[in-house]
């Protein structure tokens, strides 16, 4: 016998369990925001100070009288999701369909006893317009989910990677929606549901009236009777309609108004009798309700946690200046933002240095991947030297243009995340190449290159320029007459900031080293890595030698060698 949620102790117990897990999960995840160290170690502050900073920020916002801004963020960004429409109309339609479809189903349908009945006292789930609306909202979610799947398949690639969390989100939504429509459809066809309703509500008299109402329901309302042999005449149907209006009409709109479930019921017709025998409507109802509970319990651990984190992130970042970061509150905010990222890939599509990824294949250049690397760096998991080198390259190729931050639909302060992770990487011994270059001098680097070349023959090939080989072509540098004009016009040579840090090998010496075939000695020189690329030397060279271009190429080649060398190793190697 079917029992509604309110009558079933089992379902009620499940609901409370799901709510409990959900609430506990949310608390744990929020607590983690204050415990996670995200950013440079030098900026780590005690947890209580983070809580204090977050509380202070919250109170200051609430009492700042910036209600206008608050409501603007709430209405435009949170409710209308204006940040999505800024970059992608079809994604906005998809998201609005899923969000509003689901929320309205939750309020009107799932919480009907608590919400709809209070607002509309005459509410009954099978009455118009509620029956249509339920179908409208359900259809919205299904269309949204279909769009999401299409989008993920169509735009599949490094910019939009579909992982377990994305698949789960789509699957759980699809299960809830499809089972919902199937419950409704199987109820429409079910003879036992019809009989129960007849017993409870019909005032029809004898078997003739019962036949009339059955004829009407099977013809017009889609019920499938296993054993209904009375010949159907127009008079019988007319009588059935009259009885229906008297007994059922007050709380049962025509089932056709369930404009999705009704055609589904029609399609299920051949299977309706066996389905009714196994009480398919009850089974499907349990599937539907339990899927909802599973979704609820798993919410804090799934992609749907963004229902909580995204509005918070939008409000926090929408009401503060992204360029002036409050350091005390930065760590919890960054941790919250990591939870807010929905892996939509918008940042990567707009990334200013995405072409560098296309050429080098280092995916940690792309913001949507960088967010993941930050997560793994902060998780305390051990990251290998190769991985750190790759992450560092990705982090420092970023030009800090704030574009990802501008387009992020969630309003995450991505640029601040990148600044913080650059600092952290520098602390770990993986700063900008120009900086880590300085730990060895030119001849130490040269030794390392030679040692490296001896052990790794194949690397040499890949380091050879594919298009230009200025440093290996004697026609380019041999004309040098060692007149020192390049050195004399070089502002870096002239600057001589500090004896220890002064340029070791001047430009004309680099030309000489190339002529001697000692390219490896030039590669790690201060001159090469402190070059401002001002092109004074090249412009002034009386022999027309491409001095600056040669320095650029030496840097490229040096980087190709050095990135494969253990940088944290001591000087004795």
């Amino acid at each position: 016998m079917i029992k509604t949620l309110l009558e079933s102790t089992f379902l009620f117990a499940c609901l409370y369990m799901a709510l409990g897990i959900c609430a506990l999960g949310i608390l744990i995840r929020i607590a983690r925001w204050f415990a996670a160290d995200i950013g440079p170690r030098s900026a780590v502050i005690p947890v209580w100070m983070r809580v204090a900073a977050a509380t202070k920020g919250f109170v200051a916002t609430v009492f700042s009288l910036r209600f206008f801004l608050f409501f603007k963020v709430l209405v435009l960004d949170v409710m209308l999701q204006a940040r999505i429409i800024k970059t992608d109309l079809s994604r906005w339609i998809m998201h609005i369909f899923i969000f509003f479809g689901f929320m309205l189903l939750l309020l009107m349908h799932a919480l009907d006893e608590l919400v709809t009945k209070k607002v509309f006292p005459e509410y009954y789930s099978t009455l118009a317009p509620f029956q249509q609306l339920r179908n409208v909202f359900g259809l919205m979610v299904i269309v949204g989910v279909a769009m999401a799947i299409y989008r993920r398949v169509r735009q599949r690639g490094p910019m939009l990677i579909t992982r377990y969390a994305d698949r789960y989100a789509v699957i759980i939504l699809a299960v809830i929606m499809i089972s919902g429509f199937l419950v409704e459809a199987s109820k429409i066809t079910s003879e036992s549901v019809f009989n129960r309703m007849m017993k409870d509500f019909s005032s029809a008299g004898g078997p003739a009236d019962e036949d009339a109402i059955k004829a009407f329901w099977s013809g017009e309302y889609g019920t499938v009777f296993a054993d209904f042999k009375t010949p159907v005449t127009p008079e019988l149907i007319a009588r059935g309609k009259q009885l229906n209006d008297e007994s059922c009409g007050s709380c049962h709109a025509p089932t056709k108004t369930a404009f999705i479930s009704f055609p589904v019921a029609r399609a299920l017709r051949p299977a309706a009798v066996p389905m009714d025998r196994i009480q398919a409507d009850v089974i499907l109802y349990y599937v539907h309700v339990l899927a909802c509970f599973a979704g609820l319990a798993y919410l804090p651990f799934s992609k749907f946690f963004h229902i909580i984190t995204d509005p918070l992130t939008m409000i926090v970042n929408g009401m503060s200046d992204k360029k002036k970061v409050n350091q005390a509150g930065a760590m919890p905010r960054r941790a919250m933002e990591l939870d807010a990222c929905t892996n939509c890939g918008t940042c990567s599509r707009y990334c200013s240095v995405a072409p560098v990824f296309r050429m080098t294949g280092n995916e940690t250049i792309l913001p949507s991947h960088k967010i993941r690397t930050i997560r793994s760096l902060s998780s305390g998991k051990k990251t290998g030297a190769d991985e750190l080198r790759k992450i560092s390259e990705g982090a420092f190729i970023c030009t800090s243009c704030y574009r990802c931050t501008e387009v992020c639909p969630t309003g995450i302060n991505l640029q601040d995340q990148w600044f913080a992770s650059k600092e952290l990487l520098a602390e770990k011994g993986y700063p900008l190449p120009h900086v880590w270059m300085k730990q060895f001098n030119a001849s130490e680097w040269s030794d390392r290159i030679r040692a490296g070349e001896a052990t790794r023959e194949k690397d040499v090939d890949t380091i050879k320029g594919r298009y230009y080989n200025l440093t290996a072509d004697s026609d380019v540098f041999a004309p040098c007459i060692q007149c020192q004009t390049c050195t004399n016009v070089c502002p870096v040579v002239a600057a001589q900031t500090d004896r220890k840090d002064a340029v070791d090998i001047t430009p004309q010496k680099i030309m000489n080293l190339l002529r001697l075939g000692l390219n490896d000695l030039a590669m790690g020189s201060r001159m090469v890595w402190d070059c401002t690329t001002c092109y004074q030397c090249q412009e002034h060279c009386p022999q027309g030698i491409q001095v600056t271009d040669i320095i650029y190429e030496l840097k490229n080649k040096a980087y190709g060698h050095f990135k494969n060398i253990d940088r944290t190793a001591g000087n004795d190697s």
Partner: protein, 294 residues
């Protein structure tokens, strides 16, 4: 006149006044600036990966080609980078083929049908000095300016084709139109130091200070720039990195578009003068209170 406006990575968030002032001064001359979804010009990546630098620049060029628009950029590093890429793509067929193969993935290709201009060339050659002279309503007589050329637009001259690399005059000509006086300073063609910022700060600041003290000794009230990075260096970086006891010796910087805009009588708001970190004393209150001060 219509151009694709190449802002580069830094203008939107670090130097918004350069965009607003550029738009403000170009508008009266009927120049329309079109925004495209450009990416980085490739310059910052050239140190590490030649191919990535060319691809970055080529994608921008291809985007503009698709719209059949010439590019104008107010940044000299972006200008140099785009010009270098054009040079390499013309010169090296293998590179061109490979880059186009990657661009084809996005339905783009580089054919070399459009030109890359720097803002100063557009002002001087396309709009023309006579038109600029005619637009001046409030000449800035009394202001002495050191024109800072910026390296990447000027050199290597066989690639960038900007002006005479050893004795350029375009910047002084344009400044003269505003009524301001220019100084001949020994370091005017030197580097501002910004390319080394974050890589070797001591050296970067030393290069900057050599220039500012030279400008001061030559009698300049301010340095005038027409490059995003140079302006950031002389304005925000100089302001942030100069110790308290040496602030007297600072030489403020102004963007050429701001200088021109002032002499054209444009609003301070659209020129974003107040967004500069350092203010020019002679322009400050006098400019605000006494419109006829110069």
């Amino acid at each position: 006149m219509k151009f694709a406006f190449f802002k580069g990575c830094k203008i939107p968030y670090y130097l918004g006044q350069y965009e607003t002032s550029t738009r403000a001064v170009l508008k009266p001359f009927g120049v329309r600036l079109v925004d495209l979804e450009f990416n980085c010009c490739g310059y910052p990546n050239r140190d590490l990966y030649f191919e990535s630098f060319v691809l970055s620049a080529a994608r921008n060029l291809a985007l503009a080609e698709k719209k059949k628009l010439d590019i104008v950029t107010p940044c000299k590093c972006c200008y140099g980078s785009l010009k270098h890429a054009v040079h390499y793509l013309h010169e090296n067929e293998k590179l061109r083929r490979d880059v186009n193969a990657v661009l084809a993935g996005e339905g783009l290709s580089w054919k070399g049908t459009i030109q890359v201009h720097h803002l100063l060339t557009v002002l001087c050659d396309d709009i023309g000095l006579p038109a600029i002279y005619a637009s001046i309503v409030r000449p800035l007589g009394g202001l002495t300016v050191a024109a800072h050329y910026g390296c990447h637009a000027l050199r290597p001259s066989n690639v960038v084709h900007f002006d005479d690399p050893l004795a350029p005059s375009i910047f002084e000509d344009l400044i003269a139109a505003t009524g301001a006086k220019t100084v001949d300073w020994p370091r005017r063609l030197d580097c501002c130091g910004n390319p080394l910022l974050g890589k070797n700060n001591a050296l970067s600041l030393s290069l900057m200070r050599t220039k500012t003290s030279d400008a001061a000794e030559s009698g300049a009230d301010c340095i005038c720039t027409a490059c995003t990075y140079c302006q950031i260096q002389f304005d925000a970086v100089q302001s942030a990195e100069t110790p308290e006891d040496q602030r007297e010796s600072m030489v403020p910087a102004i963007l050429y578009t701001q200088l021109l805009g002032l002499s054209m009588g444009l609003s301070e708001r659209s020129l974003g003068i107040s967004r500069n970190a350092l203010s020019i004393e002679k322009l400050g209150p006098a400019w605000k209170l006494l419109p006829g001060a110069f």
